[in-house]
């Protein structure tokens, strides 16, 4: 006993104790709920059995009900569309801005930092501001688009079921651009300058330099940014809550919002946890691939 204490006080045990303290916290408040969630998805959980410790097991019934739900596949499709479009455009805008701010001019890094102002404000507030911008009758977006002649009648961004999902996507792209830009800037800064000078001397134009030097050198950064993009896009909840609440008629609903709605608004906790298990499984697979790949690079 005293040797354990001495080790924790003076030796290797000190580091282990510090690391295990945080790990224990995460195991109790993240990993345990995660496992418990899987258990719940095989049980009958409603408001009556909520507080009891032993609930009847129902096997795969919750998942069967879920797959049979006519909303299931459209919402999964929305989720995929949301992730793909958000990441594509965040990456395009982020990469463009990162390349632009990579140039040498007065205040470049300072101005670049100000983009993060959008990232630092609560996403729910950003959602409130966008809801006002999207407003059908007095919204400024409709005014700007019609004054440059792009539209002739007002678009109802949030109440038109064919458009509402794209409105949330637009707002989320706006939110995600700064983070993408900053991470890509770090990658760009890591490419040695003299490589470009040598290539320019050999007669490679800017497009050639971009496609044959910048892109290949940025491969690992791009991989990291895309994986982080998937992870963060699937964490987006506040924008759905403030803009459309998944509506109208689930037209803009995605899995991470639907799961919450099932549990906390219709009190169908069993279905909520089944959706949650499916999505968490997906996120963990993405994170696993991402962490493995960055680890490999680190040791290489």
């Amino acid at each position: 006993m005293s040797s354990i204490f001495r080790s924790a006080h003076d030796g290797r045990g000190f580091d282990i104790a510090l690391a295990l303290l945080a790990l224990a916290y995460l195991l109790v408040f993240s990993a345990f709920p995660l496992v418990y969630n899987i258990l719940m998805s095989f049980q009958e959980v409603d408001m009556f059995s909520l507080a009891s410790l032993s609930r009847p097991f129902v096997g795969l019934a919750n998942y069967m009900t879920l797959f049979a739900n006519p909303d299931f596949w459209p919402i999964m499709g929305n989720t995929a569309l949301f992730v793909v479009l958000c990441i594509t455009f965040q990456l395009l805008f982020g990469f463009g801005l990162a390349l632009f701010f990579q140039q040498d001019f007065f205040g470049a890094s300072y101005l670049r930092g100000f983009f993060l102002a959008a990232w630092i404000i609560p996403a729910l507030v950003a959602g409130a501001v966008w809801k006002w911008i999207f407003a059908g009758d007095a919204g400024v977006l409709n005014y700007l688009l019609s004054s440059v002649g792009l539209i002739d009648q007002k678009i109802f961004w949030l109440s038109n079921p064919a458009i509402s999902l794209y409105s949330v996507i637009i707002a989320n792209i706006w939110l995600g651009i700064p983070f993408n830009m900053i991470l890509l800037s770090v990658g760009l800064a890591g490419i040695p300058k003299d490589m470009y000078e040598a290539a320019a001397l050999d007669g490679a134009g800017p497009w050639k330099r971009f496609f044959f030097m910048t892109l290949p050198m940025m491969r690992s950064t791009l991989g990291a940014v895309i994986s982080l993009g998937i992870i963060f896009t699937l964490q987006q909840f506040d924008l759905f809550a403030s803009l459309t609440q998944g509506g109208p008629a689930n037209a803009s609903n995605v899995a991470q919002y639907w799961s919450w709605q099932l549990s906390f608004q219709t009190y169908d906790i069993a279905s909520g946890s089944a959706v949650s298990v499916l999505m968490l499984g997906f996120v963990i697979v993405v994170a696993f691939i991402y962490v493995r790949s960055t680890r490999h690079e680190y040791s290489a």
């Binding site: 507080a51 001019f105 409130a128 006002w132 990291a224 699937l234 919450w260 906390f264 909520g272």
Partner: protein, 270 residues
């Protein structure tokens, strides 16, 4: 010459990008009669200052206080538990520590809206729902702790090991060397990370909405949602609320902008 052109173009990009924030401030200063004019005005002709009125009417003192309690609590827990772990992960390279780091990174990615269901049921069973703000602090700490550890770890990695070894030769214990040498040297990184965690938790929504049912314990985000309602038209008031809420956040961000950006970039990709 080219540099000036680039600077002006950069300013234009920034102005376009930050237009939604400008629109928020502009609407807050417009009188309600001017808010719904079409075409809209881009500069308030008769600026109004409804801030005190909105603050009192919408009981923002209660909401902001609750947000503050949750953000402070979360930051304290994350800093107390996370700093030591970040230090250990920076100092020791072993299979065991690699596994710890791997687990920490995996815990970082769990979406709160998906974790809300099991956390609600669990907290309900052990009675934590009776102290809802504390419940939110516990859940939110688990959410932000991995980010805190990852960002602080890079600060500790920059401190030479030799400084601690010298202190150890002089008779300091591991704990003494950690508290008196390593932590003070990593002070800046720990502080900036704590500010970042604080700002994130100050805008927390999912857990507050899911775990807190009493009106007077709810956070500023939930208050804003209640204000927005399904068929709201008081955009004037909502934007005033938003301005009161985010202006302190933006000021802190402006002051620490360079440090937050560099801390984020150093930690995020490693």
């Amino acid at each position: 010459m080219k540099r000036y052109v680039l600077f002006v173009v950069a300013l234009c990009f920034l102005a376009i990008y930050l237009f939604p924030l400008y629109w928020m401030y502009l609407t807050a200063f417009k009188p309600s009669s001017e808010t719904f004019t079409y075409p809209p005005t881009f500069w308030p002709t008769h600026p109004q200052f409804n801030f005190v009125q909105t603050f009192i009417d919408k009981k923002m003192d209660v909401y902001l206080w609750n947000s503050m309690v949750i953000a402070v609590g979360t930051t304290i827990i994350a800093a107390l538990i996370g700093t030591g772990c970040a230090y250990a992960l920076a100092r020791v390279r072993s299979l065991g520590m690699d596994i710890v780091l791997f687990l920490v990174l995996m815990m970082q990615v769990l979406p709160p809206s998906l974790m809300a269901t099991p956390i609600f049921v669990l907290f309900n069973q052990v009675g934590l729902i009776a102290t809802p703000r504390f419940a939110v602090v516990l859940a939110q700490s688990a959410k932000v702790l991995p980010l805190f550890i990852v960002l602080c770890r890079t600060s500790f990695m920059q401190i030479p090991k030799e400084l601690e070894e010298a202190a150890r030769v002089d008779g300091a214990s591991r704990l003494g060397a950690f508290l008196r040498i390593a932590v003070p040297l990593a002070r800046n990184g720990i502080l900036v990370t704590s500010v970042l965690i604080f700002l994130q938790s100050f805008g927390e929504y999912v857990y507050s909405r899911s775990l807190i049912s009493q009106e007077d314990l709810q956070t500023a985000t939930v208050g804003l949602m209640n204000f927005m309602g399904p068929n709201t038209t008081d955009w004037n008031g909502i934007m005033t609320y938003a301005v009161i809420y985010v202006t302190p956040i933006l000021i802190v961000f402006m002051l620490l902008q360079r440090k937050i950006v560099s801390g984020l970039t150093a930690g995020a990709l490693k």
